[in-house]
């Protein structure tokens, strides 16, 4: 039977929509000439992408010597960027998979764009460990392939090796999940199009017809992929945290890392979803599908995960003191009051203190504050990774090898350029694909549309014994 609809739930689709209106609203941005805003945004993103290509080329040509890494600090902005980008990816999978299993209907408004964000963020993330190798053409060595040196296999005990499999599996599964969801919507765009666009979308739609059996299989597939993606997304950042946690570096080898990293990943990912969706809903006129209710729900997740991250920071400090272990205590004293104290307070301020304003409903529903906060959190989460990586390495066991690190222009350009890569991909997606899942929105219209539920409902519920969906409205 259909899900029970709580009378306190606010509508998730507003504007008295019909099925056809939903198709019109969501397909039209892909059909119209690009707006001036889009063109300006695209040129800006592509410029940063060019900067990325240039700085990657520079790094490969000149070598890692063009960065400021040294004997003591071997991981700097590169690995910080890697962990930051992977983390951002996590919100997409959380929205599309975990919220699907929990039957959260508000996911339908944002899941498509969030999954796209995941894929592009993982693309950005995956570049950094490879660039960091310096001799990028040796990247093939990270895979266990038959070779003429024995064959000599990779070290299956190494978390860096686990990471290769975690990130590549995550990327592949996310891509498959996202594309399978897109196929019926590409068919919708195909059936409205003519000329070359019809040809393009015919190819993208893989021959979708909308047959009942196909929908049944499609739902079965989506559910299992969601079930697989849920432990997968938890495993990915767990394994990323193993890169640090399995080492013997005080400040890194803590058992709290896996849950702490996963919470942080979801936290930063939701912040990026907010950044993107607030711009999308405004420029693509999707306010009826990505409502204040959606924004508020995501702000609640941000508040929760931000607070979990805060508890993790404090737990680390407490355990360092409680351990009675001098090196651990020093690592954390150094983290707060050492040469990088500013990044620690930047992290605390952005990630732990500032999200607390979301306890107030008015702020959760304010677009201006949400946008501001989302940027803030993204900066804060970047600082978190920098704090963990650079401050820990800067003060190692031997005071004679203590060091300080600040990036060169190449490292800064690599980071800014990766933002260009991300936004270029996202803008291409927003131009060619429906950014809101059309079929999924239609399937919740009668349980979450403002013309069916809530005080403004205009359609009296039908009492038709054949419909299970209609049972939900019997309380009106």
């Amino acid at each position: 039977m259909g899900a029970y609809v709580s009378p306190v739930r606010e509508p998730l689709i507003i504007g008295n929509k019909t099925y056809h209106q939903i198709t019109e609203d969501i397909c039209s941005p892909t059909e119209k000439t690009p707006t001036k805003q889009f063109v300006i945004g695209f040129i800006l993103a592509a410029t940063f992408l060019a900067l990325y290509v240039f700085s990657v080329t520079w790094t490969v040509w000149v070598g890692i010597g063009s960065w400021n890494l040294n004997r003591t600090i071997g991981w700097g902005w590169d690995i910080t960027n890697f962990v930051w980008w992977v983390g951002i990816g996590h919100a997409g999978t959380l929205i599309s998979a975990i919220l699907l299993l929990f039957r959260q209907k508000w996911r339908t408004g944002v899941n498509r764009a969030a999954e796209a964000m995941t894929i592009f963020a993982v693309i950005c993330a995956g570049q950094f460990p490879i660039i960091h190798m310096g001799r990028v053409w040796m990247a093939i060595f990270i895979f266990p392939y038959p070779n003429t040196r024995g064959p000599l296999w990779t070290n299956f005990n190494s978390p860096l090796f686990w990471d290769v499999f975690a990130i590549s599996t995550y990327f592949t599964v996310s891509l498959l999940f996202w594309y399978t969801g897109l196929v019926p919507d590409f068919a919708t765009v195909r059936d409205r199009a003519s000329g070359w666009r019809r040809k393009l979308y015919s190819n993208l739609a893989f021959g979708w017809t909308g047959s009942a059996k196909h929908w049944q299989r499609w739902e079965s597939l989506s559910l299992v992929l969601a079930g697989l993606s849920t432990p997968l997304v938890l495993s990915v950042h767990t394994i990323v945290s193993f890169d640090f946690a399995t080492s013997v570096i005080p400040g890194w080898h803590t058992t709290i890392f896996p849950p702490y990293f996963v919470a942080g990943a979801i936290f930063s990912g939701f912040a990026m979803v907010q950044t993107l969706m607030l711009v999308c809903r405004k420029t693509m006129k999707l306010e009826d599908y990505i409502t204040l209710e959606h924004i508020e729900s995501m702000n609640k997740v941000i508040l929760l995960t931000g607070t979990i991250v805060g508890v993790a920071y404090l737990t680390e400090l407490f355990i360092a003191w409680y351990s009675g272990y001098l090196y651990e205590q020093f690592a954390f004293y150094n983290r707060v009051f050492g040469p990088y104290w500013w990044s620690y307070f930047g992290m605390m301020g952005c990630n732990v203190i500032s999200p607390q304003i979301f306890w107030v409903k008015k702020f959760r529903r304010s677009i201006f504050i949400t946008f501001f906060m989302s940027i803030f959190i993204n900066i804060g989460m970047w600082f978190e990774r920098f704090v963990i990586i650079a401050t820990t390495l800067a003060r190692d066991y031997l005071p004679s090898s203590w060091s300080y690190y600040s990036p060169t222009w190449v490292e800064i350009c690599l980071f800014l350029g990766s933002l260009g890569l991300f936004f270029t991909c996202f803008l291409i997606f927003a131009r060619f694909a429906p950014v809101v899942a059309i079929a999924e929105i239609k399937s919740i219209l009668k349980t979450a549309g403002d013309n069916y539920i809530g005080p403004n409902a205009v359609h009296a519920p039908h009492h038709d014994t054949h419909s299970v969906e209609e049972d939900n409205h019997s309380h009106h």
């Binding site: 198709t23 005990n157 919708t188 059936d191 409205r192 017809t209 432990p231």
Partner: protein
């Protein structure tokens, strides 16, 4: 474009409630429905049409198990038999170390296997174009289709009047 070589008589409905009502009436009248096409997954449709539950998830289990065995088996073979290496005096068969990659390959095999199976059994894939009855079926129309090949005029009339009486807003025929 693939062809099914069938003459299809179909009715378009404006709402899934009407569609579900019409299907249960068709069932009572013992009409043989060829297929039903909808713009989104309509709940309650599968039991009405008598569709059996999809076995994709069972296939997924088998694919996943293949991944588990491949990963764990390969790493064990490489480290124990093919080239045993001592890492810090640890045992040659460090099973806990194999868990992350084994898990990832389980998920990877299950996902790829299921997605490939899905497109194969649905007759879909890159470059494949299946015939469609009406462009609005992916927008806001709900379609019940009957295969009229080999039906006599009485049976055709029966289907036509069924579609008209159950609230189909449009009735068409198409060779696909």
């Amino acid at each position: 474009m693939r062809s099914l070589n069938k003459n299809i008589l179909f009715g378009l409905y404006n709402d899934e409630t009407e569609l579900l009502g019409a299907i249960s009436k068709a069932k009572k009248a013992h009409l043989d429905i060829f297929d039903v096409y909808t713009p989104f997954p309509v709940h309650g449709l599968d039991p009405l049409l008598g569709l059996e539950e999809s076995r994709l998830h069972q296939a997924g289990f088998v694919f996943g198990l293949t991944g588990t065995l491949t990963a764990f088996g390969f790493m064990s073979w490489a480290f124990v038999k093919d080239w045993p290496i001592i890492f810090g005096g640890k045992p040659h068969w460090p099973a806990p170390s194999f868990i992350p990659v084994t898990f990832e390959l389980t998920v990877l095999f299950a996902a790829i296997g299921m997605v490939v199976s899905f497109y194969t059994v649905c007759g879909m894939g890159p470059g494949i174009k299946n015939p469609t009855l009406d462009d609005r079926i992916t927008d806001d129309k709900f379609c019940i289709a009957f295969d009229t090949s080999g039906l006599n005029s009485n049976e055709l009339d029966e289907i036509n009047s069924f579609l008209a009486n159950t609230g189909a807003s449009e009735i068409h025929t198409k060779y696909i």
